[in-house]
């Protein structure tokens, strides 16, 4: 069975292509995400165990968020609002995570996507982890972090 990280990357590429008409490429880390990035997290909890599971954190640069909303909804950029962009990013995280569960064959309970403001120091540290996925989507950066909920292996 492919690892969770491999399945996550596959789900991201597939969903971005089919849902947003965008083609992400893996990129080398390019420093710390800017403060204006929008972050959405979702948790996956082991069904059988009370404590195990994972947390996925998705960081979207503002230009990527706008492009995803425009492509997803067929809107003009001038019609976008912050609410529309946020809702689109939540939907993206929801669909990527659902597809991840399908691909990895694990029995995990999926939570609901939530916007959050990360601690910049924590983001810097986590962005350097081997389970961090750095992406460039039409030159707009995106960072996806796969984190164990209770210090377990990924």
């Amino acid at each position: 069975m492919e690892t969770l990280l491999q399945a996550l990357k596959k789900a991201i590429f597939s969903v971005f292509e089919k849902m947003f008409f965008l083609f992400p490429e893996e990129a080398t880390p390019t420093g710390t995400p800017a403060p204006d990035w929008q972050w959405v997290a979702i948790e996956l909890r082991e069904t059988a165990a009370a404590s195990g599971g994972y947390r996925l954190e998705f960081g979207f640069s503002p230009s990527l968020g706008r492009e995803m909303a425009v492509n997803f909804l067929g809107l003009d950029e001038g019609d976008l609002t912050d609410e529309i962009v946020t809702a689109t990013l939540h939907e993206a995280v929801n669909v990527v995570t659902g597809n991840l569960l399908t691909a990895c064959g694990r029995t995990l309970d999926m939570g609901l996507p939530e916007r959050f403001a990360p601690d910049p120091a924590a983001v810097r540290q986590r962005a350097a982890l081997p389970t961090a996925t750095h992406l460039l989507v039409e030159e707009s950066p995106c960072l996806v972090l796969l984190l164990p909920l209770n210090g377990g292996p990924v």
């Binding site: 909804l73 809702a87 939540h90 669909v95 990527v96 597809n99 399908t102």
Partner: protein, 140 residues
């Protein structure tokens, strides 16, 4: 015959997307109603004449499976075809949806054409047009 359609999803952007897909589908619509969860959907069903329900599986307050259970328990709502929409392709969720009476299942991500086809199938309408199949980026 124009149809009353109820779309249930907690994501406002998903609701906008479904509205656009339905607009370009060529399916005649009498009224398009939306709800943010299963509980709101039950309230809308009491107020509107609905011929087809598209519902997300994964929602707060009352999810798609719980909504199906309520519909199955109410004789006047039981005949309404329900399309369950899920981002998970896990067989448990799909099988449970079907067991509770879902007429169709759509897995995200999907194309507008896939949505149109399943809607027509659930409405028992023969497919004469192909409007949504030409939908491309930014061109709903």
């Amino acid at each position: 015959m124009p149809y009353g359609i109820l779309v249930v999803d907690d994501s406002s952007s998903a609701l906008m997307m479904y509205r656009k897909i339905i607009e370009v589908s060529g399916i005649p619509v009498r009224e398009l109603t939306t709800a943010r969860n299963g509980q709101e959907a039950l309230q809308q069903l009491a107020l509107h004449s609905i011929d087809l329900i598209l519902t997300d599986l994964h929602m707060p307050v009352m999810d798609g499976l719980q909504l199906l259970e309520h519909l199955a328990a109410e004789p006047k709502w039981r005949p309404i075809p329900v399309i369950m929409i899920t981002s998970e392709g896990r067989s448990e969720a799909v099988e449970r949806s079907k067991a509770l009476g879902a007429a169709g299942v759509l897995q995200k991500p999907f194309t507008p054409e896939e949505v149109r086809r399943v809607m027509l199938d659930c409405l028992g309408v023969q497919d004469h047009g192909n409007t949504a199949s030409s939908t491309e980026k930014g061109d709903f």
